[in-house]
Each structure stands twice: as structure tokens, then as C-alpha cells.
């Protein structure tokens, strides 16, 4: 009789423990999804801003069509990479960030563009979007690290596999992919601002 009770109590403890583990894993996975959604909002906003910027500077930049083409292509690649998972997407977005930097570096050469209110506003909007992507990425990677650690450690790992909790990718470009091709414009861009 006593043995039955002991078995029942052990079973109850295991079930309750399992429920706690399951709930905490679900919560952590949700945090990862929310953090990623936050990045996606900013990425979409950047995709929407870029055509406006290209249109605004197109007429001025007769000689540097190549930079504009680069930005447009990088944007198209980034949009296409959206479905290929965080690591791929991060790499494509890294390229886009680099292309935009080159574009703004070229803009510095055109006094009319630098004084253009529309371009200035777009530049500020793109800068803040890029910063927000950066900070959202830090937050996302922190939640992924937390989640990945928790599904890989005992006792959670006993339940994580069977219940379908898989590792998540960091939003981080591979070191090679992060290397943005340098555009030599024959001058050094000003630091700051």
C-alpha cells in the first residue's frame, strides 16, 4: 500500500515539475518571437523608406548611379532574405546597411543634397531606424541566448526535445558576411552626427 502512495507522490511531483518546465519554455519562446517581431517592424520601415530616399537623390546624383543601384539591389536582397531565417536575413540587412552608408557618404559630396530638407529628414529617419534595428537586435539575441540555454540544460532538455522546442538562430551576420565592401570615394567621411 505504502509503495503505491510513494509512486503516486513521485508521479505527481514529476507531472507538476513538467508543467512548470513546459510553461517556462513556452514563455521564453514567446519572448524570442516578440523580440523578433520588434526587429521586423523596423526592417520593414527601412525597406519602405529606401525608395523615397532613392527618388529624392536620383536627380542630383547623375554620376553615381552605381551607388543607387547598389542600394536598390541590397534592399531587394534583404526583402527576399526575409523568409530565410534570422542569420540569412541579418547578413542581407548588414549589406543593406553598408550600401546606405556608402550612399550617405556620397551625399556629403553634394552641397544641394546636404541642404535638402527632404533628404535630411529621410537621413534622420533611416539613422533612427538603423539604430532601433541595432538595439532591437541586442534584445533579441539576449532572449535567444536565454531560450537556447534553457532548452539545453538539465532538466529542461528532457522535455524540450520531445515537445518540439528547437534552438533559435541569432540575428547576427556571419563575420565574413558582415564585411561590407568599401567604396573608395577619395575622402574620409566625417565622424559623428
Amino acid at each position: 500500500m505504502e509503495v503505491v502512495w510513494i509512486v503516486l507522490i513521485v508521479l505527481a511531483v514529476l507531472v507538476v515539475g513538467g508543467i512548470f518546465i513546459y510553461n517556462s519554455l513556452v514563455q521564453k519562446r514567446l519572448q524570442v518571437d516578440e523580440a523578433f517581431a520588434q526587429i521586423e517592424v523596423q526592417l520593414k520601415r527601412r525597406w519602405d523608406l529606401i525608395p523615397n530616399l532613392v527618388n529624392a537623390v536620383k536627380s542630383y546624383m547623375g554620376f553615381e548611379q552605381q551607388v543607387l543601384t547598389q542600394v536598390t539591389e541590397a534592399r531587394a536582397n534583404a526583402v527576399a532574405a526575409g523568409a530565410q531565417g534570422p542569420a540569412q536575413q541579418a547578413a542581407a540587412e548588414g549589406m543593406l546597411t553598408g550600401a546606405l552608408r556608402s550612399l550617405f557618404a556620397v551625399v556629403e559630396n553634394y552641397p544641394e543634397l546636404k541642404a535638402n530638407q527632404n533628404v535630411l529628414e529621410l537621413q534622420e529617419q533611416l539613422t533612427t531606424t538603423e539604430n532601433q534595428i541595432g538595439f532591437s537586435r541586442q534584445h533579441y539575441n539576449a532572449t535567444v541566448r536565454d531560450y537556447n540555454t534553457s532548452i539545453a540544460t538539465f532538466p529542461n532538455l528532457l522535455l524540450a526535445g520531445p515537445l518540439g522546442f528547437s534552438r533559435r538562430e541569432f540575428f547576427d551576420a556571419e563575420p565574413e558576411a558582415a564585411q561590407v565592401p568599401r567604396v573608395d570615394l577619395g575622402y574620409t567621411p566625417p565622424s559623428g552626427g
Binding site: 520588434q38 529628414e121 534622420e124 529617419q125 539613422t127 533612427t128 539604430n131 532601433q132 538595439f135 532591437s136 541586442q138 534584445h139 559623428g192 552626427g193
Partner: protein
């Protein structure tokens, strides 16, 4: 970022929290002791002292509640700050949104103060009810990265609940000073009336002396504690700011630029100075280290930042040279 550096942040946060609790306890004990001394001295009866403690605590509780729920509005009104928005200040609002993402707090309300002295402060009872106020001078004089550093500093105050603490401490310390003043004044005017009762014995006279000493010391002690704690908070907020922006250079440049500015902020006063980014009341020459200052010197802050990032500290001469250039 090195693991050791993260350790430093957490250690500083933990130390700061501990100090906060100690301060609140110390302030309440001081207030209670002061109440007891005053009550005992007046009634010459321990019961009177205990009644006075109760009264002191009720007063403190009322003032604490008022400051908790309406303190931010009072401070903002006293500083003549006006609410601003996206259309009016796009760059500022963008920077605030960026840094609130980095700090993982809701975007605070943003206020402007029309003053050419560059400065900023944060207030409110928690991150959900927080406000940041910046001067127009700050917006004119700082570039985007420097502004990020300053806003990061203010949002650290928000995230660490320094803002609630600053509001509460302001009022708790204020009530001790008020009580002390009240007692000293009533002792002066009521001296003749109580002359007869002193015949009751030497005990009452000794208590009276203790009461007077307490009444004189309490406000001094209270302000000293407040200053020491708020200096630690400035260092911590600087450290957290560069943790958030990942850009120590921006905050360092902002500190040097603001430190080199010679204008005092007109709307700041003794009651609100501890909330600001840099001490707003003193002129440059007087922004020196001292027992009574709410803020560490700019040089100390810059050098603490440089220690965290592993750069060589600046000396006072280099600082002076930078000011000449700036």
C-alpha cells in the same frame, strides 16, 4: 564587451540598491528620532515623544504620497518644462525611442525647457510613468551621438528607479529640514513661555539640549546622505548609458562639452539640482568636488568612464585645454 565589465555594472547596480534602502531607513529613523526629541522636549513625557513620532510619520507619509503621485508634475511645472512631440522635435524623439528600446523601457514623455544652458533630467514614479526634460541648449549644442549618451544616462535613471528615489528622497529630506526649522523657530519664540517648566528637573533640560542638537544636525545629515547617494547614481547612470549605446565616445564628448559650458540653468534650484545631468546651479569654476556637491566633477565622471573602457584617464590640464578648444 568583456565579462568583467558586465560584472562591474551588476555590482554597481546591487551596491546602489543597497544604499537606497539604507538611505530610506536612515531618513525615517532620523525623522522619528527628531520627532521624539521634539515631542519629549515639549511635553516632558515619553508618551508625548511617541505621539510626536506618530505625527512625524503621518506627515512624512502624506508628503511621500503627494510626491509619489504628483511629484513629477510639480518638478516639471517648477522647471517651466513644456511637452514636446514628434512633429516639433523629430531628432530628439527618435533618439528617445532608440534609447528606450535599448533600455527596454516604454518611451517616456519628453519635455523641453527653454534655456540655453545644456542640461537634462528624468523624473516620475516608475518607467511606465516617466518623463524626460531637456533644455533647448542641449539640443542646439550636442550632436546625435552625444544626445544619445545623455538620453541613455537619463533612461538609466528611469530603468534603475532612480527617478522614484530622487522624488521620494527630495521630499523625505525636505520634511526633516522643515521640521527642524519649525522647531528651531518655535524654540526661539516660545522660549519665555517654557522657562517655568524647566524647573521640573535636569532631565528635561538635557533632553531639550539633545532636541536642539538634533534639530540643528538632522537637516545637515539628511542632505549629506542625499548628496553621497546621488553621486554614486550619476556614475552608475553614466556606466549604464555606455552599456546601452555601446558608444563611450558620445557620452564622453557630451560631458566635456557640457562641462565646458559656463551658463547656469535659471530654472534649477536647490530642491531640483540633484536630478539634473550635470549640476545646473553652479558655474564652471565652482563645479568642483566637495563634501556638499550633488554631482561629481565632470573630470571624475569622464575618468570613471575611461576606466570602464580601459582608456587612460585625462588630467585636469588636458580638460582645461579641451575647454579652450571647445
Amino acid at each position: 564587451m568583456a565579462a568583467g565589465q558586465v560584472q562591474t555594472f551588476y555590482a554597481q547596480i546591487a551596491a546602489n540598491r543597497r544604499r537606497s534602502v539604507l538611505l530610506v531607513v536612515a531618513v525615517f529613523l532620523l525623522l522619528g528620532a527628531l520627532g521624539f526629541a521634539i515631542g519629549y522636549a515639549y511635553s516632558e513625557d515619553p508618551v508625548g515623544g511617541i505621539v510626536a513620532i506618530a505625527i512625524a510619520f503621518v506627515i512624512a507619509l502624506v508628503m511621500t504620497s503627494v510626491s509619489y503621485f504628483a511629484g513629477d508634475a510639480l518638478v516639471l511645472t517648477a522647471s517651466r518644462a513644456r511637452l514636446t512631440n514628434e512633429a516639433d522635435q523629430p531628432r530628439l524623439m527618435n533618439v528617445v525611442r532608440e534609447m528606450s528600446i535599448a533600455a527596454n523601457v516604454p518611451p517616456p514623455k519628453v519635455y523641453l525647457i527653454d534655456d540655453s544652458a545644456p542640461n537634462a533630467f528624468a523624473t516620475g514614479r516608475d518607467p511606465q510613468h516617466a518623463s524626460i526634460a531637456v533644455t533647448t541648449g542641449l539640443l542646439d549644442k550636442l550632436d546625435r551621438e552625444e544626445l544619445q549618451g545623455v538620453i541613455g544616462h537619463e533612461l538609466s535613471h528611469v530603468r534603475n528607479l532612480d527617478i522614484r528615489f530622487a522624488l521620494l528622497v527630495g521630499v523625505l529630506v525636505g520634511s526633516i529640514v522643515l521640521l527642524g526649522d519649525f522647531f528651531l523657530r518655535s524654540l526661539w519664540w516660545g522660549g519665555g513661555r517654557r522657562g517655568g517648566s524647566r524647573r521640573g528637573g535636569g532631565g528635561a533640560a538635557i533632553l531639550l539640549v539633545i532636541a536642539v542638537v538634533l534639530a540643528i544636525l538632522a537637516p545637515m545629515f539628511a542632505r549629506l546622505i542625499q548628496f553621497a547617494v546621488s553621486r554614486q547614481r550619476e556614475y552608475l547612470a553614466d556606466a549604464t548609458s555606455i552599456e546601452l549605446t555601446r558608444n563611450p565616445a558620445g557620452l564622453e564628448r557630451a560631458l566635456l562639452k557640457i562641462g565646458g559650458d559656463r551658463e547656469p540653468l535659471e530654472v534649477a534650484n536647490r530642491a531640483t539640482e540633484h536630478m539634473y545631468f550635470v549640476n545646473p546651479v553652479k558655474k564652471l569654476e565652482a563645479r568642483s568636488s566637495g563634501f556638499f556637491s550633488t554631482h561629481p566633477t565632470i573630470l571624475e565622471r569622464v575618468n570613471r568612464l575611461r576606466t570602464l573602457t580601459g582608456a587612460a584617464p585625462l588630467d585636469a590640464r588636458t580638460m582645461a585645454g579641451l575647454h579652450e578648444l571647445g
